[in-house]
């Protein structure tokens, strides 16, 4: 208690005006077990940006300060705005959630840096919303502006770095090398702390950079031989992104699949084979088809199955290519190869 008394004395010098302003600011409730004390509900006035918080000493108007890490228990109750935003976030309404998080971030800015601070968590979730909405410009500005990595746990810090890589997406044909470098740096820095979704983001960013090397007009026709490699690499990264996210949310995987499908459909020999065969497909038409053709048809079916119209309107290419899908497993038995 010695420490707190000293701090209280030090705070006596705080001007009345400032004190009044602090009182008007939004407060947070937290379960706190101050050193030497029992756990109880405490109203937090604000943080100091370095892991300490201020509170009014019970029964007095004395403003006290304590370090969160020194407390045996420190849990900030989720404020209603944050609870609402989280509900929208987990419900998949990222646009509404993003607004809610932006509000929370601003409203509780005074608590930045505290463990579990709604402000910090809202900033992180706001970036996640932007990624899931594929608002790359917002991802870039939000992740760039976030300067509280130290207040994040290892997984969240890795996620923020992954978002920064997503913010690099500019569909520039020269972007592959710098994106790859940034991805490798992030992987090296965070290792297995990079969660599956963030890992998917990194691979998505790489795919976009690789795909940027394929001129857009070639997607309408056939990809030139010298671009086939880049297209194939892009398809592979898109697929890695989708698999890494394993259905956890929709927009990014659906977009990745849609882009991968467009690339596969423009691979040499694919449209030509489609022109030769008429759906419905059967074994005789399916087996001799080029591998990229079969993968395109299977991917179209995958999109239709897993992410129908995930990003708004259905992609017409999906329906077109799905018509060529053939269930090659039909009639097989378990264990058949």
């Amino acid at each position: 208690m010695k420490l707190f008394k000293n701090i209280a004395f030090a705070l006596a010098a705080v001007s009345c005006v400032q004190f009044a302003a602090a009182q008007q600011a939004p407060k947070l409730n937290a379960y706190v077990a101050l050193p030497g004390g029992a756990a109880g509900l405490l109203e937090l006035e604000r943080g100091d940006g370095n892991g300490s918080f201020f509170y009014m000493q019970k029964g007095t108007d004395q403003l006290m300060q304590a370090k969160a890490s020194a407390c045996k228990m420190f849990y900030i109750q989720t404020p209603p705005e944050m609870a609402n935003a989280l509900r929208e976030f987990y419900g998949g309404d990222y646009a509404a959630a993003r607004k809610g998080f932006a509000t929370v971030k601003k409203k509780y800015a005074a608590f930045a840096g505290l463990p579990g601070s709604p402000c910090t968590m809202a900033a992180l979730h706001e970036v996640t919303c932007a990624v899931r909405l594929l608002d790359i410009a917002a991802v870039k500005s939000l992740s760039g502006a976030f300067a509280e990595d130290s207040a994040l746990n290892a997984a969240d810090a890795a996620r923020m770095d992954a978002a920064r890589v997503v913010g690099m997406i500019d569909d520039n044909p020269e972007s592959f090398a710098p994106t790859k470098e940034a991805v490798e740096a992030a992987m090296k820095k965070h290792g297995r702390n990079m969660d599956s979704e963030a890992n998917g983001w990194l691979r998505y960013a790489l795919a976009r950079a690789a795909a940027a090397q394929v001129p857009a007009d070639q997607l309408q026709g056939t990809i030139a031989e010298d671009k086939v490699r880049a297209a194939s690499v892009a398809v592979d990264f898109y697929c890695q992104a989708v698999m890494s996210m394993h259905g956890s949310h929709k927009a990014v995987p659906a977009d990745a699949l849609s882009r991968a499908l467009a690339l596969l459909w423009a691979m040499p020999g694919v449209k030509e084979y489609a022109a030769k065969v008429t759906p419905p497909m059967d074994k005789a038409k399916w087996n001799p088809a080029p591998a990229d053709f079969r993968d395109a048809a299977a991917m179209a079916r995958y999109i239709k199955t897993m992410y129908p119209a995930a990003n708004g309107a259905a992609d017409p290419l999906v329906d077109k290519v799905d018509a060529y899908y053939f269930n090659a497993k039909a009639g097989t038995k378990k264990g058949d190869k």
């Binding site: 404020p79 998949g92 591998a291 993968d295 299977a298 991917m299 079916r301 995958y302």
Partner: protein, 1128 residues
């Protein structure tokens, strides 16, 4: 049922608080006894007591009135006692009776109860509505049945749902007691409704989903654990009837916020989500196999959604660690008022430790999820997505391992992941990466996986048709499974070894490996999942026999003795598979077909007629077997056709005639099959029918009817058999042209011929093919066109008209030099035919020859050697040489000679057809040159070609060489060449030319004696060949004239010889008389007549020589005297 125990216990507490009041006075104390009896299971006693109290105090007396407010409690406890005893029908009725009893609702009684019970201001009033809940509860219990027993009456759920829904309506509209409101039961009632709707006879997933969502949002929302339990119930029920699997994703997607939780909360359920996802995946897998794409889609989506709920374990560990750090020291659970989430430090700590333990063992749910997602993608046919998943696993989950049971070690998946990744890389065309991952696995002990890996390597090589590498891979499989020889992978390895050698056309090794496999007796079915099924074994075995037989057949092309081996293999096969069931002998029809082929080929090469006939007989027998056993097989039409082909060559005309019926069946069946291959069979059969029908008219059939039937086959050919590149199409054009008997038929045939020739020529042009049949057909067409115009259209075509038609043939690409040259050549051939017909009309012949030469010259201008077939090249060049030879100094015609040289050289360079002819022609061309080097080259070529066994080139080569020697004055060589020719008895076609040149050679060598002998040899033997005999006669006359020996001896003495000049004249005179008297003179060709006239002229000249005349007079006078002396 702990799902609603909270509500029940609270209400029970409400009820059990009453006795505390009642015990103060009798009959109040009896309520305690009722409760006790009910707890002890003495239900009937408890109920009796309740009834007794109600009866005793239910009257109208003062005592009754005093205790009336207590009686509702007895009525309630009676229902509770039944409920506790599990006597739900009685309990249901008791609760209902309570609810319906007007006495209990008497305001005065209720008011007294409220007044008499301190702290319970509502007294028994809550029971009026709560009874409804309990009625639902009774029905629910009946629906569920006993715990662990499937003895529930699902029909009861409908009533349960009705009660609960009615009660929920009361709660939500505020028409319940304050006590009930305080309990905040909405969430729990919704949750019971979820389960009731799922568990009833016909589950209503839609309502269940709606109530589950409500249960998470209404007052008193259920905790995560309970929601997950509800979700688990739905998934279990939905998946137990796979048709409902789609409700899983519909439910979750419609209320994602309820299940899509933060990592720390999701961590508590990841295992469940993963397992449920796996169950959905199994449904999808079965649906795909069953071809039920709709169900597969529903199940796949449900699996994907469930997998999406599995949290990332490191993220969960971090979040849990944060929680432990934040409130781990706090022993009691608490609730985050913002989110309503119940937090428990001890629980978080426990889960964190559990997660750490799982991670140490390589159990990572998110890794398994990626693995399962990849498998789903692979099953749906997307190798790319599957590869993406395995790449993620490879990069991020190096320690991923399958949990083991008991104390066993977890099974690491690293090598399996690497193996799959490598395999998928190859499947998607990235061989480099595939190889990298395969190499990574080399030398690693993967236990059972090693064998699988080895087999997958074989599979890959087979998929890639990399037959060269299939061999070592198959051998590796064989070695890996050698201890398990009934294993289907072992037998597949053995089969693939044979198949690979077959694909590589290494027939010696096919024979070796196939024979070893057959003799080993290992290719057979066995019991067990790893063994081949009978049909699978038969399939492999059939193919092995087929490969073996066909390998012998292929080798027979070089070594005919192998054909008999092929037949032996078939006989061995036929003895082993003595069945017509293609399920058990899947290649039986093809084996029979192969045997037929071998017997026919052996018959064709047979040394004697008897064995040939025997083979043909067997072939027909096998054809009959196919026709009788597999009338629907695609080989049936071919079998009929082959049999007909053999029988058409039978000596017995009746057999031949009967074979047409087989052709008819072949054509009909082939047309019915309607495949591209069967169309070829129909083509063959119909062509033969059109060809042979006129030869074998049906009994009693008129000629016109036969003709009509023949034409019908031809017409059928065009609709049922005609196909681009078909080998019978061009012969059919010729046949069809020949069938035309009137103007209409001629024009139809002409149009068909034009279209077909154009199509076939274009086909060959585009495919860079050539076919001598095209040349033949065009020749026929040209002839038919010219003659048909004359016969059917009464029109004689001028040269210009013909040229215009043939040089602008409809449908022929002007760039197609090959076909255009054939047409030009055909035109020349046609003109040559006309030339022959001109006979003695020398002027007309000369004109025609000029025209032919003109066409030739045009050809040399229009076509380079590369445009022409070898045949036409040689023809054109021969014509140029012949043309040049007519000039006094052929060597001066350098342009024509140069062109000829180019055409011949082109053919020689092609090293294919007519090379010797071209070399001979080139030698003839070079021989005209005055350039010594060219002459030497010509001599070398002549010498080379002269060794050719074909007299058509070997002979002319010696002739050419002799001519060259004569032209260059090399008499010795010329004599030697002619002598060499004379010694070779086989090359006699040019004998007369050579005899003449032999005379010339001796003359050149000033050896008049041998020259005279040579000429006399020819003259005496071949006087009738005036072209040669006249020239020999002239040479003899000239030699004698030139030698000019005087008469020797006395006419009256022996040894008298006339003078050479008289002999010269006399030889000619006798020859001329002979030719004239024999009538040969009338048949002489213009060329022969020219030569003959030379002799006539010389005879006249020599005969007017005074010395000759004087000697002849003396000779005649001597003869007259001699004859008159004999008469005397």
């Amino acid at each position: 049922m702990n799902t609603y125990t909270t509500a029940v216990s609270v209400m029970a507490a409400l009820a059990f608080s009453m006795p505390m009041v009642c015990q103060a006075q009798d009959p109040l104390s009896s309520l305690t006894k009722v409760k006790k009896l009910a707890q002890q299971g003495q239900t009937d006693e408890a109920v009796s007591l309740c009834d007794a109290v109600i009866k005793r105090f239910g009257g109208k007396g003062a005592t009754a009135k005093q205790f009336a407010y207590v009686l509702p409690f007895y009525a309630w406890e009676k229902a509770v006692a039944y409920f506790k005893a599990g006597r739900y029908d009685e309990a249901y009725n008791a609760f209902k009776a309570f609810m319906d009893e007007p006495k209990w609702r008497d305001p005065a009684t209720l008011a007294k109860a409220k007044e008499s019970i301190p702290g319970q201001p509502e007294a028994y009033e809550p029971y009026f509505t709560y009874a409804l809940f309990q009625m639902g509860n009774c029905r629910y219990k009946q629906g569920v049945g006993d715990a662990g027993k499937d003895n529930g009456d699902k029909a009861k759920f409908e009533d349960a749902i009705a009660c609960f829904e009615k009660y929920l309506g009361l709660v939500q509209s505020g028409k319940v007691s304050a006590m009930e409101k305080k309990l905040k039961m909405e969430g729990q009632i919704c949750f019971i409704l979820v389960q009731a709707n799922i568990l009833k006879a016909t589950p209503d997933f839609k309502k269940a989903a709606a109530y589950l969502e409500q249960s998470r949002t209404v007052k008193g929302s259920v905790p995560d654990e309970m929601a997950m339990e509800g979700l688990n119930t739905i998934v279990n029920v939905a998946i137990s009837n796979p048709e409902n699997v789609g409700w899983v994703y519909k439910l979750i997607e419609s209320s994602r916020a309820s299940y899509n939780l933060d990592p720390a909360r999701a961590a508590r359920n990841s295992n469940k989500f993963y397992n449920m996802g796996q169950r959905a995946y199994k449904v999808m897998e079965e649906a795909l196999r069953a071809g039920n794409d709709t169900l597969a889609v529903e199940a796949a989506r449900s699996a994907n959604v469930l997998f999406g709920l599995v949290t990332d374990m490191p993220a969960a560990r971090t979040a849990l660690a944060d929680q432990v750090k934040s409130f781990g020291a706090y022993k009691r659970p608490f609730v985050d008022k913002g989110t309503g989430v119940r937090l428990n430090g001890a629980s978080s700590k426990k889960l964190l430790n559990s997660y750490k333990g799982l991670a140490d063992k390589g159990t990572e749910f998110d890794g398994f999820t990626v693995l399962s997602s990849s498998t789903i993608a692979k099953d749906m046919g997307s190798n790319r997505l599957a590869k993406g998943g395995f790449q993620v696993l490879y990069d991020r989950y190096p320690k991923l391992a399958l949990p083991a049971k008991g104390d066993a070690e977890p099974r690491p998946l690293r090598n399996t992941v690497t193996m799959q990744l490598g395999s998928l890389c190859r499947m998607t065309g990235d061989d480099e990466a595939g190889l990298k991952y395969e190499k990574e696995l080399e030398g690693k002990d993967m236990g059972d996986q090693t064998k699988i890996l080895v087999f997958q390597k074989l599979q890959r090589t087979v998929d890639e048709k990399d037959w060269q590498n299939v061999i070592p891979c198959a051998q590796e499989v064989i070695d890996s499974f050698k201890e398990d020889k009934t294993n289907k992978l072992y037998l597949t390895g053995r089969y693939m070894l044979v198949a690979a050698y077959y694909q590589l056309a290494d027939f010696e090794n096919v024979i070796k490996t196939a024979r070893e496999l057959i003799d080993s007796g290992e290719m057979k079915a066995a019991e067990g999942k790893d063994a081949l099924k009978p049909k699978e074994a038969a399939n492999y075995d059939n193919y092995v026999y087929y490969f073996l037989m066909d390998s012998y057949a292929r080798l027979a092309a070089q070594d005919p003795s192998k054909r008999s081996e092929a037949i032996k293999v078939f006989e061995e096969y036929a003895a082993k598979y003595n069945t017509t069931d293609l399920e058990m002998a899947p290649l039986a029809d093809k084996m029979y077909y192969g045997a037929i082929d071998q017997h026919i080929k052996r018959a064709n090469a047979a040394a004697d007629d008897a064995s040939a006939a025997e083979d043909q007989k067997t072939a027909v027998k096998y054809c009959d077997h196919i026709c009788a056993s597999w009338p629907t097989s695609d080989l049936y039409p071919t079998a009929e056709l082959l049999a007909a082909g053999i029988l058409l060559n039978d000596a017995d005309e009746a057999v031949k005639a009967a074979s047409l019926q087989r052709l008819q069946r072949a054509a009909d069946a082939a047309t019915k099959l309607g495949t591209r291959q069967s169309r070829a069979t129909a083509s063959n059969a119909l062509f033969w029918l059109a060809t042979y029908t006129p030869e074998f008219p049906a009994a009693g059939e008129s000629e016109a009817a036969t003709q009509a039937r023949t034409r019908e086959y031809a017409e059928r050919y065009w609709t049922e058999g005609d196909a681009e590149g078909d080998p019978f199409v061009l012969p059919m054009v010729s046949l069809y042209l020949s069938m035309a008997t009137n103007k209409e038929e001629f024009e139809t045939a002409l149009k068909r011929a034009q279209d077909t020739i154009a199509r076939e020529a274009t086909y060959m042009f585009k495919n860079e093919k050539s076919d001598p049949e095209l040349e033949k057909t065009i020749n026929t067409y040209v002839e038919s066109y010219v003659n048909g115009n004359k016969t059917h259209l009464n029109k004689t075509l001028t040269l210009e008209e013909k040229t215009a038609h043939f040089t602008n043939f409809p449908g022929i690409d002007p760039a197609d030099k090959y076909t255009n040259a054939i047409f030009r050549m055909a035109q020349i051939n046609s003109m040559n035919q006309e030339l022959i017909g001109l006979k003695d009309d020398k002027a007309a012949k000369e004109k025609m020859e000029e025209q032919i030469q003109e066409v030739f010259r045009n050809m040399t201008n229009s076509f380079r050697a590369a445009d022409l077939t070898s045949y036409i090249c040689v023809q054109v060049a021969d014509y140029l040489v012949k043309y040049v030879s007519k000039f006094p100094d052929p060597s001066a015609r350098t342009e024509e000679l140069g062109m000829a040289e180019e055409y011949y050289s082109a053919v020689i360079e092609r090293k294919k057809d007519l090379v010797a002819d071209a070399e001979l022609g080139l030698a003839n061309t070079l021989a005209y040159s005055k350039d010594a080097a060219k002459q030497t080259k010509a001599a070398e070529l002549y010498t080379k070609v002269s060794t050719n066994s074909d007299p058509n080139v070997g002979g002319p080569a010696l002739v050419g060489l002799t001519k060259l020697h004569l032209r260059t004055g090399n008499a010795t060589a010329a004599i030697e060449t002619t002598n060499k020719y004379m010694r070779n008895r086989q090359n006699q076609r040019d004998r007369l030319d050579m005899m003449l040149m032999q005379g010339e050679a001796y003359t050149l060598a000033n050896d008049s004696k041998n020259a005279l002998l040579a000429y006399m040899n020819l003259f005496n033997q071949f006087k009738g060949k005036v072209g040669y005999s006249a020239r020999a006669c002239m040479a003899i006359m000239e030699i004698f004239w030139k030698r000019n020996n005087p008469t020797q001896g006395d006419r009256l003495q022996k040894g008298f010889q006339n003078s050479d000049r008289w002999t010269a004249w006399n030889t000619g005179q006798l020859y001329v008389d002979l030719i004239r008297r024999s009538g040969v003179e009338a048949k002489l060709t213009p060329e022969e007549r020219d030569e003959f006239n030379k002799v006539v002229s010389a005879v006249h000249n020599y005969g007017t020589d005074p010395a000759v005349m004087k000697e002849d007079k003396a000779n005649k006078e001597f003869q007259r005297n001699l004859q008159s002396s004999k008469k005397k």
